[in-house]
């Protein structure tokens, strides 16, 4: 809920912030030309947007230098990414809309949906996901009205922690749950806020899992992975 007048951003600036978020997660810092390439715009128009974001203190930016997110910027961007994911999964899993369509609509609506509505959608999403019977009932009901699109298999819970990510999936760490020595150890190993983590595989007996972080490989027990909250793509 952005009630502070100075903090609201235009849809386009939010897109910039979201792009920077992903580029920084992967590379450590973002260069203007990477951002331009990702957004498919001209490098010259990037500069203006970056300046605006820097004025609002969402990013650290000086001309010809790489861009990193400020604390506020990171949180703002994480929230946009979060809304994006909620919308996409809500459309795909609750409404049974085609994945590609869900993604496309989510990209548009992420700017306008607002945190309050998104939070309720997320709650409903969780409610439906937890109830197989209701999910089938809902799918059947939608199918009656609209045809087979709604009958698509409904995926299990949206990725919230590293333990929920499947092999090959990536996420950016938003926070690590406080659990004594474990969270300190994880922080020491570089599993901190803003780091990109990718699940590479699972042990033969289903636990532990193999992840990639900061260009090296690590194994984690599922119980430890469940303490790491992420936003996934």
């Amino acid at each position: 809920m952005d009630s502070k007048p100075g903090s609201s951003l235009s849809a386009s600036l939010e897109d910039y912030l979201e792009t920077i978020f992903w580029v920084v997660a992967a590379e450590g810092a973002a260069r203007a030309k990477d951002i331009a390439r990702q957004l498919k715009v001209k490098a010259s128009s990037v500069t203006g947007a970056l300046q605006t974001l820097a004025e609002k203190e969402y990013i650290h930016y000086r001309p010809y230098e790489a861009v990193t997110l400020t604390r506020e910027g990171f949180e703002k961007a994480a929230r946009v990414v979060q809304r994006h994911r909620i919308l996409r999964e809500f459309f795909a899993q609750v409404l049974g809309v085609d994945e590609a369509v869900a993604e496309q609509r989510a990209r548009r609506l992420e700017h306008d949906v607002g945190d309050e509505v998104a939070a309720r959608m997320a709650a409903l999403l969780e409610y439906v996901q937890g109830r197989d019977g209701m999910r089938q009932e809902l799918a059947a009901f939608l199918a009656q009205r609209e045809g087979p699109a709604a009958q698509r298999a409904m995926l299990p819970s949206g990725s919230q922690t590293v333990a929920d990510l499947k092999s090959g999936q990536k996420g950016v760490i938003v926070s690590v749950r406080r659990e004594g020595a474990i969270s300190r150890r994880l922080a020491d190993m570089g599993l901190g806020r803003g780091a990109l983590i990718e699940v590479e595989g699972v042990a033969p007996m289903g636990d532990p899992i193999r992840v990639r972080i900061r260009r090296y490989r690590l194994s984690l027990r599922r119980s430890e992975a469940a303490a790491i909250l992420v936003v996934g793509r």
């Binding site: 450590g28 690590v176 300190r184 994880l186 922080a187 020491d188 595989g201 042990a203 532990p208 260009r215």
Partner: protein, 686 residues
């Protein structure tokens, strides 16, 4: 000659040992840090008129005093104030490796960075602006390739140059951001106000950083209520701002600093997403293939250690037999001189009893060094963790326990691969329950004596199974009682695969072998000689022996000896297990080595060890005991009193007689209890 003391720090898997080997060559010494079981390696070399003494600190990812290793490394740097700290950094994995460097920088130590495996980094297309990075980190940086001995001279040069240069305060410091810096300043001010006298050379700021991180070791020193209050206020304040513990935010900031430094100084020309390690991992940790590959490799380790190890062992046994015969030649045939007996049965037998373990230990550590250096060991732990975690152990515990089926002595030494003390000690305690090869000779005597053909296989299988089940139960019980505590997070690096170098593998093997001879070997020899004396004295008079044949003579000597007498004395105690004094005497003798049980029983029954002797002995046993007693003998030998070698090794690896005594008494007590129940309940059945 002027001395320079250098401490070698670095992440595990950064190739620290290879740099250490490169610097010191053969001039190294392996010991333990005082009071703990963490290995300490020291070495010396000379350069440019300096004698450079190098201490290899334990490999750590951080210096947060989170594990024993980290605390040792940190205390060494703080208390022993080495002239230079060399941080060995894996150049191909810079971001995480520099984390330790940021902490060393914060400690204000004269620092040299060895960018190790720089050839690998180059092959991966990573290019460094070392000059710029060196300016940012304010430390000399030297590219090295430890396992190819490249960069030795420049590294020594940098060490000497760092010593010669007057200590100048650092121009930059790691900035934690305004909110945290403010609190650090407040804490520092309180520290100055209170005029604390325990500030190490790393300075006030470091103390403030550690206090804000709620570091246990530093907090324990800050007893001043003013300081504690200030820290508590700051922590609370920062928690409010960040919604997270300050230490977590600070760790993130350090990584932020590293990302910034890397961004400015590193160019990656090729983005190679999938490397060889990924391909290998896709196979060896595969959900279907992972376990079979692991089991196959374990089979090969076992085969190498024991099947291949049997040849040098046979050669050694043959040599000691020959040596015994040669020594015996100095006395007239049939002489009963106790000096002869001391030399042959006591000393030569004792030395033989030590050296006989050497082939197993060398070959096992050859295999372990290859597994560790290649990077597979971490994958083995990864594959096995699910099962081992259930019984409270680490994935890697599987390897020593498996080796236990061959021999407990190398198996206990192999627990060195476990970093966590609790997991390691638990594993050591239960290893003797894995039925070792020596006990097989006991089963081979007893089972055919008491059990019909079709039952022999199942009985043997049952004995092994009982051992495994007991080991699992005991491990679980130990982890819930004396070795209780938070299980260490598993968070384990899966290092890139590498081809092990011959030199590092051989050095590893040699160090283990030497350590065994020096430490456990002397204990084994000492106890063996004592056991020989107990079995030889007091001697019966010459008249008593005069009319007896050789077997009877041996029998009389043993029966009259202290061991024989104790065997008689404890008979009432072992009666409820179905044992008489003969079994008791053999059991006491078997403390020297499990297989001695068979030869001692032979002596007690006055049966020679020549061809067919075993059959004669079996018939005598059948006459004296029921199959139930036979089973109870095997059960007791399986569980009870670990042999001298095991005791000596447990003493060496736990660094205390207390644990060795505990293991001995606890296992013997367990054996008594279980055998008692089996015999009593079995007798009721009839």
């Amino acid at each position: 000659m002027k001395r320079i003391r250098v401490a070698l720090a670095g992440n595990p898997n950064s190739g620290k040992s290879s740099v250490f080997n490169m610097l010191t060559g053969a001039h190294q010494h392996v010991g333990n840090y005082p009071g703990v079981t963490v290995e300490k390696k020291e070495g010396v070399c000379t350069y440019d008129g300096y004698q450079i003494e190098i201490i290899d600190l334990p490999g750590t990812y951080s210096l947060t005093a989170y594990s024993t290793e980290e605390l040792i490394a940190r205390d060494y740097v703080l208390d022993e104030t080495p002239d230079v700290v060399v941080d060995v950094v894996d150049a191909s994995n810079l971001e995480r490796n520099l984390y330790l460097a940021t902490q060393l920088i914060e400690m204000n130590v004269p620092l040299v960075l060895a960018f190790n495996m720089s050839d690998l980094a180059k092959r991966r297309g990573i290019e460094f602006d070392l000059e710029q990075l060196s300016r940012l980190l304010e430390a000399r940086i030297v590219p090295t390739v430890g396992n190819k001995a490249q960069g030795r001279e420049p590294l020594l040069e940098a060490i000497v140059a760092t010593v010669r240069q007057a200590e100048t305060p650092r121009a930059h410091r790691l900035n934690y951001g305004d909110e945290i810096e403010e609190e650090l300043a407040k804490i520092e001010a309180v520290l100055v106000e209170q005029n604390v006298e325990w500030v190490p050379r790393s300075g006030l700021r470091w103390v403030a950083v550690k206090l804000l991180e709620q570091d246990d070791a530093v907090t324990a020193k800050a007893v001043h209520p003013e300081i504690r209050d200030a820290v508590a206020r700051s922590v609370e304040h920062l928690r409010g701002i960040f919604g997270d513990e300050p230490e977590i935010v600070m760790a993130d900031r350090r990584y932020g600093f590293i990302s910034g430094a890397c961004q400015e100084t590193i160019a990656s020309s090729v983005e190679r997403r999938h490397d060889t390690s990924d391909t290998i991992d896709a196979v060896v940790t595969n959900r279907v293939l992972g376990l079979p590959i692991f089991l196959l490799l374990m089979y090969m380790v076992f085969w190498l250690t024991f099947t291949l190890g049997e040849y040098p062992m046979m050669a050694l046994e043959w040599f000691f037999e020959w040596a015994g015969a040669t020594v015996a030649g100095f006395w007239p045939a049939g002489s009963d001189s106790w000096v002869k007996s001391l030399l042959i049965d006591g000393i030569l037998g004792g030395v033989g009893g030590v050296v006989v373990f050497l082939p197993n230990i060398l070959l096992l550590f050859l295999a372990i060094a290859i597994l560790e250096d290649s990077g597979y060991m971490a994958r083995a732990a990864f594959v096995m963790d699910r099962i081992m975690h259930k019984i409270g152990l680490h994935g890697k515990s599987f390897i020593p326990m498996l080796i236990g089926f061959g021999c407990s002595v190398p198996a206990i030494m192999a627990t060195r691969i476990l970093e966590n003390r609790r997991s390691r000690f638990t594993t050591i305690m239960v290893i003797p329950l894995m039925s070792c090869g020596a006990r097989l000779t006991i089963y081979a005597l007893i089972i055919p004596a008491f059990f019909p053909h079709q039952w022999r296989g199942p009985v043997m299988w049952l004995i092994y199974l009982i051992g495994i089940v007991l080991a699992v139960v005991c491990a679980k019980v130990l982890r819930l009682t004396i070795f209780r505590g938070e299980t260490m997070p598993f968070v384990m690096e899966l290092p890139p695969y590498r081809v092990p170098t011959l030199k590092s593998v051989l050095i590893h093997m040699w160090q283990r072998g030497w350590l065994f001879l020096k430490k456990a070997g002397t204990v084994i020899l000492g106890i063996s000689i004592v056991l020989w004396a107990l079995a030889s004295f007091p001697k019966p008079s010459a008249e008593e022996l005069a009319e007896l044949n050789e077997q009877q003579r041996h029998q009389t000597i043993l029966e009259r000896s202290i061991i024989g007498r104790v065997g008689h004395i404890i008979e009432p105690v072992i009666r409820p297990l179905g044992f008489d004094w003969k079994v008791g005497t053999a059991l006491i003798g078997a403390t020297a080595a499990k297989e001695v049980f068979v030869s001692q029983l032979g002596i007690v029954y006055a049966v020679g060890s020549e061809e067919g002797g075993a059959e004669v002995l079996r018939r005598r046993l059948q006459a004296d005991y029921t199959p139930l007693v036979g089973f109870c003998i095997m059960l007791f030998c399986l569980i009870s009193a670990p042999c001298v070698g095991t005791v000596a090794m447990t003493r060496q690896e736990t660094n205390s007689w207390r644990w060795a005594t505990f293991q001995f008494l606890a296992l013997t007590g367990l054996a008594y209890g279980i055998t008692f129940l089996v015999y009593q309940i079995g007798s009721l059945w009839g």
